[in-house]
């Protein structure tokens, strides 16, 4: 359980600072320190066992089918990193307490910091590589938050986004690589992966997988060419730079190299890529560091350079080099964190970190000076400091490297050059800041409070102690960690200070003296650098790239989504034509065996009328009133066609729907402009639309023809057989289908009607109606006497007819739907003939409620069958009650009544509201014709 708690404690600790923030700064800091120290304590408790070579692995299943387990592993390497994370974390918390000002929201800072700490511990203690990828991305996210902590500073925002993008890119690569890796091995558990090195390296996907994993490592550890996010992340508060961007998070990349060393290292691809990138980074970054005038910028590039050095060591692929790599990770974490904190102190106390401004601080900040001097000495690799040991060992490994064939001098030379530059910038750091003339700083410099120096002191003490007595202090830990990296016994590690006079000593000497010499010539170098150094930074390239991509995406989006309905319809129809046309073309058009029916003269005439009117609708669409009339003819011809094809129900339905639709359209047109504006001449778009419409129309006809020439063997045979009283509740199969076989459909459709009615009501309520120029001019004689006097007696007659139609529906064409429509027509007629007010005054029915009640009736009649334990909408139900005995209930009548009421209700809601619109419009007119008697009033 302990490893889980070590990870969980900081994650739980995210909440504490937020809660304790209100109690003041100190409680807040302590609330962050508490879980950190507790986790550290738990880690120490595992120390002896880990040093003895024990490996703790615990696992709980999480997403088993994915292979993602909550599995943790504490071995030497994990222990070492956890120690760095928690140890330096505790120091950084203390430092930050003094560093942050009262204006900074300290609770948020510590919450972010704890989030990072938990995530980072997760990375280093994961046993499951998917879990590792999981925590990996979380470190990127928390880093984003911490860099953007001072979010009002533009550079902080940009730096944060850049860091997130680059490390996010790497995270995705790593994620992909690890999934591939797990797939190769058949497990995502490190125990299995680390033991399968040979299988992995021989796999055909080894190289792509390696590249993806390395993308993750290199972006995180800021290796060239992904290095530039790190200097730009220096806008973060200095504790963050010390913690994330030198000691821990950026080490995640090299951690990964170390972790995966047994599984991935040893191939020539690994050697050339990792060593190559590392060497390039080592020298390039060290060179750039020399020219950085920002103290933190210099340290950032120095960090990149040292990460390069560690990368090189793991790239060598040899046991000894890997051990040195682990050693340098520890050393670098100690001295670089101390130096960052020192830089923070200087910044804090002087108000600037510009090396050109600073100078002579030795006098004002003696303690800080000593700490900086010692830290820099370790960084430069001066003997008796920890940095010297690992650097000397690095030189030795570079010299011994067997893999370079004809160029044995190349790696040692580059390594020495790196060391030389490292020496140069270290000297510069100390000299330019603490010696020379006193600069004009914004604040009067002095040593900071003890609390700020203490963490630096601890780290520097470690640098010195390890430098002097490496074996007793660091020996066991290094051995345990190396054992984990090598997945085997590292053997005896020689940590003595003096190995005799060998190549490494020569290289060290060249580096130290050459570096000092280099520093003395710096003035000339700056001039030279300004001349030859191109004005090209990673930041610039990155930002321009992102901007270019964003612009391109904006262009693509606005070009595609141009808001043209015509285009969307064209796409829909075009895609449909393509989808349906492709199989037809591919497999051939094959009509069925049915013979065509005889063509008679009347039909031909009717079909011609249909075609002409359809075309006319399209051609005349600009004259809306005419178009509506023509489209009415289309509907009538279709009803006639239904009559001819022996579908009287359909014909009746079609006819009544047609009438109602046309009436509603006319009402709507009443308040709309009477013509559609011209769009100019014949355009390409119109050509496209004509072609598309023709193809879609003809294609539909083709499909219909193909279907109708085929014999139909369908389920309707069952319906025909069962449409007899009492099984189906009637003899008219159409009606029985509507109210029984497929009554559920009907229930759905009347719900649609209801929603349409209520929806139109709601929509028109909210409509801010404006008078539109060019609406239909009204005839003077608006309520023709003939119509008015005819329609009133007609009302009773039509309603009678509708009732008749309703009842005969069971056995003959008719039913609730048609009856409802007929009644609606009768009522609409009253509105048209006598005006809306006249009609409304006489119809005090709330049609909205009528429609709702209709659907309700239909639903309830469907629920009756539940009482008999039968499914919803079982229409013919036999009940047997104790006293009454057995009796049948046929609910279809009630269901059909529901349909009838819904149709009337919805139609009338729509109608009266559209009519109401006309009234509003009328009020505009009123001012002009006040003298005229208002015919809307009865």
């Amino acid at each position: 359980m302990t490893p889980l708690f070590i990870v969980l404690l900081p994650l739980i600790g995210v909440l504490l600072p937020l809660l304790f923030d209100r109690f003041g700064r100190l409680p807040c800091t302590l609330s962050a320190a508490f879980p950190t120290l507790m986790a550290l304590g738990m880690l120490f408790s595992m120390g002896p066992a880990v040093m003895a070579g024990e490996v703790f692995v615990i696992s709980w299943p999480w997403v088993e089918s994915l292979g993602l387990n909550l599995a943790f592993r504490v071995d030497g390497l994990g222990f070492l990193f956890a120690l760095l994370i928690l140890g330096i974390g505790a120091l950084v918390i203390m430092y930050a307490h003094y560093y942050l000002t009262n204006d900074d929201p300290i609770g948020r800072f510590f919450a972010y910091l704890m989030l990072f700490m938990g995530a980072m511990l997760g990375v280093v203690l994961s046993e499951n590589v998917l879990l590792l990828a999981f925590f990996w991305e979380m470190t990127s996210l928390s880093s984003f938050l911490l860099i953007a902590y001072w979010s009002h500073v533009p550079a902080a925002r940009q730096g944060a986004r850049m860091a997130l993008t680059i490390t996010g890119l790497g995270g995705l690569g790593l994620f992909a690589g690890l999934v591939m890796l797990g797939n190769m091995v058949g497990s995502y558990d490190l125990s299995v992966i680390l033991a399968s090195g040979e299988l992995i390296r021989a796999h055909e996907l080894y190289v792509p997988m390696l590249l993806l994993v390395l993308l993750g490592a290199f972006t995180k550890s800021a290796q060239f060419p992904f290095h530039f996010w790190l200097p730009n992340a220096m806008t973060a508060p200095t504790p963050v730079s010390a913690y994330l961007h030198s000691a821990t998070m950026v080490k995640a990349g090299v951690f990964l190299l170390a972790r995966m060393h047994p599984a991935l290292a040893g191939s020539s691809e690994w050697f050339f890529i990792v060593t190559g990138v590392g060497l390039l980074t080592l020298v390039f970054a060290a060179y750039v560091a020399l020219f950085k005038h920002d103290l933190k910028g210099l340290l950032a590039y120095s960090t990149i350079s040292h990460l390069g050095l560690i990368t090189v060591l793991f790239g060598f692929g040899t046991k000894a080099a890997a051990i040195v790599g682990v050693f340098h990770i520890m050393n670098h974490a100690a001295f670089k964190a101390s130096l960052f904190m020192t830089a923070g102190i200087v910044d804090h106390e002087c108000g600037t970190r510009d090396i050109r401004v600073l100078g002579g601080l030795k006098k004002y900040m003696p303690i800080t000076f000593v700490l900086a001097l010692l830290g820099s000495a370790a960084m430069a690799g001066i003997p008796l400091f920890n940095g010297f040991l690992s650097k000397e060992m690095f030189f030795y490994e570079a010299w011994k490297l067997p893999l370079m064939g004809d160029y044995p001098w190349l790696v040692p030379a580059i390594a020495t050059l790196g060391g030389l530059l490292s020496m140069a910038y270290s000297v510069r750091l100390v000299y330019d800041v603490f010696f020379g003339e006193v600069g004009e700083t914004p604040k009067k410099p002095h040593d900071p409070p003890f609390g700020m120096m203490f963490p630096v002191g601890v780290l520097v003490a470690i640098c010195v102690a390890v430098g002097l007595f490496p074996e007793p202090i660091i020996g066991p830990l290094l051995t345990a960690a190396s054992a984990a990296v090598l997945f085997g016994d590292p053997g005896a590690i020689d940590l003595s200070l003096w190995h005799g006079f060998n190549a490494a000593v020569v290289m060290s000497l060249i580096a130290i003296f050459g570096g000092t010499l280099f520093f003395t010539q710096r003035a000339r170098l700056y001039v030279l650098a300004d001349k030859i150094w191109p004005d090209l930074t990673g930041k610039k390239v990155f930002e321009q790239l992102v901007e270019a991509v964003a612009t391109a995406m904006r262009t693509i989006t606005s070009t595609l989504e141009n808001g043209s309905l015509q285009r969307y319809i064209a796409l829909l129809l075009g895609f449909s034509v393509l989808a349906a046309g492709l199989p037809l073309v591919r497999f051939g058009i094959e009509p069925g065996p049915m013979a065509m029916t005889e063509i008679d003269f009347v039909s031909v005439v009717m079909w011609l009328i249909l075609v002409v009117c359809s075309l006319a609708t399209a051609i005349l669409h600009q004259r809306r009133l005419v178009a509506v009339i023509v489209i009415g003819v289309v509907g009538l011809v279709i009803s006639l066609a239904f009559v001819q094809l022996s579908g009287p129900d359909l014909a009746l339905t079609q006819l009544s729907v047609e009438i109602v639709t046309i009436l509603l359209l006319l009402l709507a047109l009443f308040v709309l402009p009477k013509s559609t504006p011209h769009e100019g001449g014949f355009t390409l778009r119109q050509a496209r639309d004509i072609v598309l419409a023709a193809v879609a129309g003809l294609g539909t006809a083709l499909m219909a023809w193909l279907v109708m020439t085929r014999p139909l063997e369908s389920i309707s045979r069952f319906h025909l057989e069962n449409a007899n009283y009492p099984v189906g509740g009637g003899n008219n199969v159409v009606n029985v289908t509507l109210v029984d076989f497929r009554g559920f459909d009907t229930m759905g459709e009347i719900s649609v009607l209801l929603v349409a009615g209520l929806g139109i009501f709601a929509m028109l309520q909210g409509l801010d109606f404006k008078y539109v120029e060019g609406t239909i001019s009204r005839a003077r004689d608006r309520y023709p006497v003939m119509l008015t006097s005819f329609s009133r007696p007609l009302l009773a007659l039509i309603i009678l007819i509708s009732i008749y139609v309703f009842f005969r529906g069971h056995n003959m064409p008719g039913g609730g739907f048609i009856a409802g429509l007929i009644t609606s027509v009768a009522l609409i007629l009253q509105y048209l003939a006598s005006g809306i007010d006249w009609a409304s005054e006489r119809m005090r029915i709330n049609f909205k409620l009528l429609a709702a009640a209709g659907v309700m009736l239909a639903v309830l009649s469907g629920m009756v069958s539940w009482l008999a334990g039968l499914p919803f909408m079982t229409m013919a139900v036999q009940f047997s009650l104790p006293v009454i005995g057995e009796f049948n209930v046929v609910s279809t009548l009630f269901f059909d009544l529901g349909v009838y009421l819904t149709v009337i209700g919805s139609m009338m809601v729509i109608l009266s509201n559209l009519g109401h619109l006309g009234q509003i419009e009328e009020e505009y007119d009123e001012n002009e014709r006040l003298t005229e008697a208002d015919p809307w009033k009865p």
Binding site: S65, A579, F718, F744, D745, M856, P871
Partner: protein, 500 residues
């Protein structure tokens, strides 16, 4: 008798009827009824989820007419999980709407409940024509919800939406009519049997009508090239409606998945594996264009619209593998992304309300009054939406990548998923940094307003849902695996429905 199978349809319909009949203009009563119905629907959905988790399938023959002659409701894993999802999203969207959106016009709750009924009905029906009917219900309800509370922008978007979908309805009828003409049935299970028995001479016609049907579903699911309507429609709707709409597109995805595995699946004879060559490439392109659109958006809500498109692309690409792992991962991602997008729409509404006149435009706006709270929620939502740990989007992507490994076109899937993930990261970090970091102070005398506890509740609730979903990913994936296996075994469905 499995009467409960119809509850997710009947409860909301009854609520939609009771409200106008008995609640009148009493908003409090309307809310009470609506909330009760939504809670009941959600619990019905969760109950069904529990039952379906056993791997069993349930049918309900409406009118007691045996399949294939009457209409049947069918509950399998896929239906159950989607009904449950609808119930959950519906509840939180309703809670948000009750904070004031529902006051802005009449009949909000009626339309809302009808919408739920339509969605649940579409997921539950085993009949192709009945599916059409439910499509109509949800189309009409969604159209009216979309234009709810008026405004020129909404009406314009509404006109586009309704016209495109009416054309879609026409195509649906054409396709169903043709399929009926060829197979003589409307019951999906029965149609599957009939299609598999068809002779070679019917290949062209059955494939043409099947693909036409899929086009209609693709329009609903906003798949390339039929996605262009979505961003404007979703960004114009009020927040709770947009949140509910995040389920609406899943009706299209559901219909594609259902028909392409059941009727036009591997055993479909002349229409076997009909969609296999097309679905994944189109879905991947949808994914790419979705994120391109998200990054190219000028407004946050529009960005969310494009993110929906992208998420649809991703889930359909995974389903397009037509393997157990692929479909399972696709369903997992569907559940995840639907909740996340619903959350996003609500959250962005809260944020936009505090940004002053710029509203949701991606330009410098006011510092949100409750910046910390909103920022934390937004960060969480973005993590989920961009597929980052520790939330379920990351697990979803892992599942999808794992499913695509060793599959034909797997490389493209990997490449596109990874690249779009990066675009997502960039796009969302740009947006977030603009909204929360690069802000102006609220000008003196102006007030950006505050969100109430009731406003936050649904947002936090949905985020909690995502957290729980992540934590219980183990059981969830077991369920989706089972569901995917059911889908790839059409005979299971057919036997259960037709009983032979």
């Amino acid at each position: 008798m499995n009467h409960w199978l119809i509850f997710p349809i009947l409860i909301p319909i009854l609520a939609a009827l009771v409200i106008p009949l008995f609640a009148g203009k009493d908003l409090a009563l309307q809310r009470g009824i609506s909330l009760t119905a939504s809670l009941a629907t959600m619990f019905a959905g969760l109950w069904m989820l529990r039952l379906a988790a056993g791997g069993e399938m349930f049918t309900y023959a409406l009118g007691n007419w045996p399949a294939p002659f009457g209409i049947v409701l069918v509950l399998d894993g896929l239906s159950a999980v989607l009904v449950a999802l609808t119930g959950v999203i519906g509840l939180f969207a309703l809670l948000y709407a009750m904070q004031g959106t529902d006051e802005k016009g009449p009949f909000f709750h009626v339309l809302f409940q009808m919408q739920i009924a339509g969605i649940c009905g579409a997921f539950l029906t085993g009949d192709l024509f009945n599916l059409f009917v439910f499509f109509e219900i949800l189309l009409l309800a969604s159209y009216n919800l979309l234009v709810f509370s008026g405004g020129e922008k909404r009406l314009r978007a509404g006109v586009h939406y309704v016209i495109l979908n009416l054309i879609g309805s026409g195509l649906f009828l054409l396709a169903v009519g043709t399929l009926y003409g060829v197979t003589g049935t409307l019951n999906m299970a029965h149609m599957a049997v009939r299609v598999s028995e068809l002779g070679a001479s019917e290949t062209a016609l059955v494939q043409a009508s099947a693909l036409l049907l899929i086009v209609v579903f693709a329009l609903k699911a906003a798949m390339l090239p039929l996605y262009l309507w979505l961003p404007n429609v979703y960004s114009s709707a009020t927040a709770p409606v947009a949140a509910l709409f995040s389920v609406l597109t899943k009706v299209g995805v559901y219909a594609i998945l259902r028909t392409s595995t059941l009727i036009f699946g591997a055993e479909a004879g002349v229409a076997a594996d009909l969609l296999k060559p097309y679905l994944m490439p189109l879905a991947l392109l949808t994914l790419v264009l979705g994120w391109i659109g998200a990054m190219g958006s000028h407004k946050l809500r529009k960005m969310l619209g494009y993110m929906i498109i992208a998420s649809l692309g991703l889930m359909m690409a995974s389903m397009g593998l037509f393997t157990t792992a692929g479909i399972s991962a696709g369903i997992y991602y569907m559940l995840h992304s639907t909740v996340v997008m619903a959350l996003m729409f609500l959250l962005v509404d809260l944020i936009a309300r505090q940004r002053g006149p710029v509203d949701d435009a991606l330009v410098v706006g006011w510092t949100p009054t409750q910046g910390s709270m909103l920022g934390v929620l937004f960060f969480g939502a973005v993590i989920a939406a961009a597929g980052l740990p520790p939330l379920s989007g990351f697990i979803g992507k892992m599942l999808i990548l794992q499913a695509a490994i060793d599959q034909p076109n797997g490389f493209w899937m990997w490449a596109i998923v990874l690249i779009t993930s990066l675009i997502a990261l960039v796009a969302l970090s740009r947006a977030g940094s603009l909204v929360f970091f690069k802000t102006d102070d609220v000008p003196p005398g102006e007030s950006a307003g505050r969100a109430s506890l009731g406003d936050f509740l649904p947002v936090v609730g949905l985020l909690v849902c995502i957290a729980l979903f992540t934590a219980y990913s183990g059981p969830v994936t077991e369920f989706t695996n089972m569901t995917a296996a059911q889908l790839l075994e059409p005979s299971f469905y057919i036997t259960n429905v037709l009983g032979r």
